[in-house]
């Protein structure tokens, strides 16, 4: 057990060390979501107008973009595994007296910290976009982002545990991660989509994460605009006739994340 924890700590330590030393990663990961927000926002805002009580399209998209920032950066856990394998460093890790599951957890934890930091950087945009932000909300948001990030990191490591090349990993990312993001309601509300799309979205665990983060951000804005969270808030997910609360949403993501991390640890331990 000690070996698993020490493994987790050293691996996470290195991930952070690497991140701190590569400053370009910090700005580049900020640029992409910003681009989405500005271009999509400018493109659709006037077309769509006010979506519900007091929320315009950019405000609607903003929590989703924060989630997306965290997601795309969390997947880096997997890229980092593939990278280490390609450059040989993985061998140094694999032969060290540390638990294999510790390696998986360390990779996931390391990239989760990085991803959450980058998600948190996005918060500076809140005042500009007119989204109200209180310390209380930030306090709730950070743990939520950690849960979302850990589960996607788990997915990243799981995919990477058998991948040999960065190109291959890039392909898989495009085939799995992008659809997951598009179907999670980052760019459009899911309560007005064709039934087939709604059905797919509901088996996508990211949907619940995005929804929880959106609930956190927008419920206060809507309430301030005169609506009540109960009836006026039209973004909440409904699964089998049950409207998901923020906590329930997060628990779904958590369950998904724990399962993924366990599978990833198992697959990773199996390899020679």
């Amino acid at each position: 057990m000690e070996e698993v924890f020490r493994g987790m700590w050293v691996i996470a330590y290195r991930e952070l060390l690497r991140f701190v030393q590569e400053r370009s990663r910090i700005s580049s990961s900020f640029a992409m979501p910003l681009l989405f927000l500005v271009i999509f926002g400018a493109g659709f805002s006037r077309l769509i107008g006010s979506m519900t009580l007091g929320v315009n399209f950019i405000q609607f998209m903003y929590p989703g973009i924060i989630a997306m920032t965290v997601l795309t950066n969390s997947v880096m856990s997997g890229l980092s595994v593939v990278w280490d394998r390609e450059f040989g460093f993985l061998k140094e890790i694999l032969v060290a007296p540390i638990g294999r599951s510790g390696i998986v957890l360390g990779k996931a934890a390391g990239s989760a910290v990085v991803a959450v930091m980058q998600g948190a950087i996005m918060l500076v945009l809140a005042p500009i976009l007119g989204v109200s932000l209180t310390p209380m909300m930030v306090g709730k948001l950070i743990p939520m982002l950690i849960v979302v990030s850990l589960s996607i990191s788990g997915l990243g490591v799981l995919i990477a545990s058998r991948m040999r090349s960065q190109q291959g990993f890039g392909m898989i990312i495009q085939l799995i991660i992008f659809p997951l993001i598009f179907l999670s309601g980052v760019f459009f509300p899911l309560n007005n989509v064709p039934p087939w799309l709604a059905a797919i979205s509901k088996v996508n665990p990211l949907t619940y994460g995005v929804n929880a983060i959106r609930q956190l951000f927008l419920s206060s804005t809507i309430t301030a605009a005169g609506g009540t969270t109960g009836q006026g808030y039209s973004f909440s997910l409904t699964v089998f006739g049950h409207t998901m609360t923020m906590l329930e949403n997060i628990l779904v993501v958590l369950a998904f994340g724990v399962a993924l991390l366990l599978i990833a640890a198992w697959v990773f331990s199996k390899q020679e």
Partner: protein, 323 residues
């Protein structure tokens, strides 16, 4: 005392038998060499001994610990330098060493001191804050040797420690290896396909097609050939070989258009030969045997034959086992 004991160790990759029931022992404090062409099973054996690969048969112990059942304990008592670099190039030399120290639980009190000492030993002290990315091949290898020693292992594994390095760097790596043995009473297990490097070993095990075909000190292996190597080139090699057989009862080996013979005191044999040899000869030479000759005699092919394709082979091997 035997620090490594291997009994009938085997490893198959599907149909391919990479290592075929090898047995040997390594004595504490010696430099033990695994010599053989690329693809002979050297790296596969090392990978099994250092717990990276599970054997498909047989048993191996290191420092009395079973490589399958006591993986973590084995890992703590061995240091490793692989064929391919396994450094994080985006970190500094010091950071690479520190990561290793954390992973191997080197006590805090000795950590920084050992890092400094080892950087001193491999002459990289002035580069400790440089990113590994800008290091030359030899510097990287030296840093890896330092890293392999950081947790005070009892056995250091060096898999082709000088592969792809220039002659001067090879020499300097070897100076470091020999110095280490003296200072730390370290057991060093290395693989190589360079004959001249194998000469530095206390004992050599020659491996071909996954089997150990000889194991002894370099001198004894050379003596086992029974004398000097006489090389002849005749107009008709086959006729000359026949004549050697009939007149002197010598069994000749024809290889690459040359006849080679093992003869005690070869320099005294040549004058006798010149006197009454019928077949016309083009050239002749005498030399002390090398490990190459030992290999040739034992396997019927030279270790260098596979050299041409060795880069490509090394690459495929790397792909298969390395990563």
């Amino acid at each position: 005392m035997n620090i490594i004991e291997v009994q009938e160790l085997s490893r198959n990759f599907g149909q391919l038998v990479a290592v075929d029931k090898v047995s040997f022992c390594v004595v504490e404090g010696e430099i033990f060499g695994f010599l053989g062409p690329n693809g002979a099973g050297k790296t596969t054996t090392i990978n099994m001994l250092c717990t990276l690969l599970k054997p498909t048969g047989g048993k191996a112990t290191l420092c009395g610990l079973d490589v399958v059942k006591q993986r973590s304990e084995v890992r703590r008592c061995i240091g490793l330098v692989f064929q391919d670099p396994t450094l994080d190039e985006y970190l500094t030399a010091e950071q690479n060493l520190r990561f290793h120290a954390y992973a191997y639980r080197v006590p805090r009190e000795v950590r920084e001191k050992r890092i400094s000492e080892l950087l001193e030993l491999v002459e990289l002290s002035d580069r400790r804050k440089s990113k590994v990315r800008i290091f030359s091949g030899g510097m990287k290898r030296r840093l890896e040797i330092a890293r392999g020693l950081l947790h005070s292992p009892r056995v250091l594994f060096l898999d082709e420690p000088t592969l792809g390095l220039d002659p001067q760097t090879r020499r300097s790596i070897w100076d470091h290896i020999l110095a280490l043995r003296k200072q730390h009473n370290l057991t060093i297990f290395l693989t190589t396909h360079y004959m001249d490097e194998a000469e530095n070993c206390d004992r050599i095990s020659i491996i071909d097609n996954g089997r150990i075909i000889a194991l002894d000190t370099p001198d004894k292996l050379k003596d086992s050939l029974g004398g000097d190597i006489v090389t002849l080139k005749a107009v008709d090699n086959n006729a000359a070989a026949l004549e050697l057989k009939e007149k002197y009862n010598l069994s000749a080996n024809i290889q690459n258009g040359m006849i080679t013979l093992n003869i005690p005191q070869g320099e005294k044999f040549l004058p006798k030969l010149i006197g009454n040899f019928q077949s016309p000869l083009l050239s002749m030479s005498v030399r002390r045997p090398t490990l190459d000759d030992v290999f040739l005699t034992l396997t019927g092919h030279a270790i260098r034959e596979e050299e041409a394709g060795s880069k490509e082979q090394a690459r495929t091997m790397r792909r298969r086992f390395g990563r």
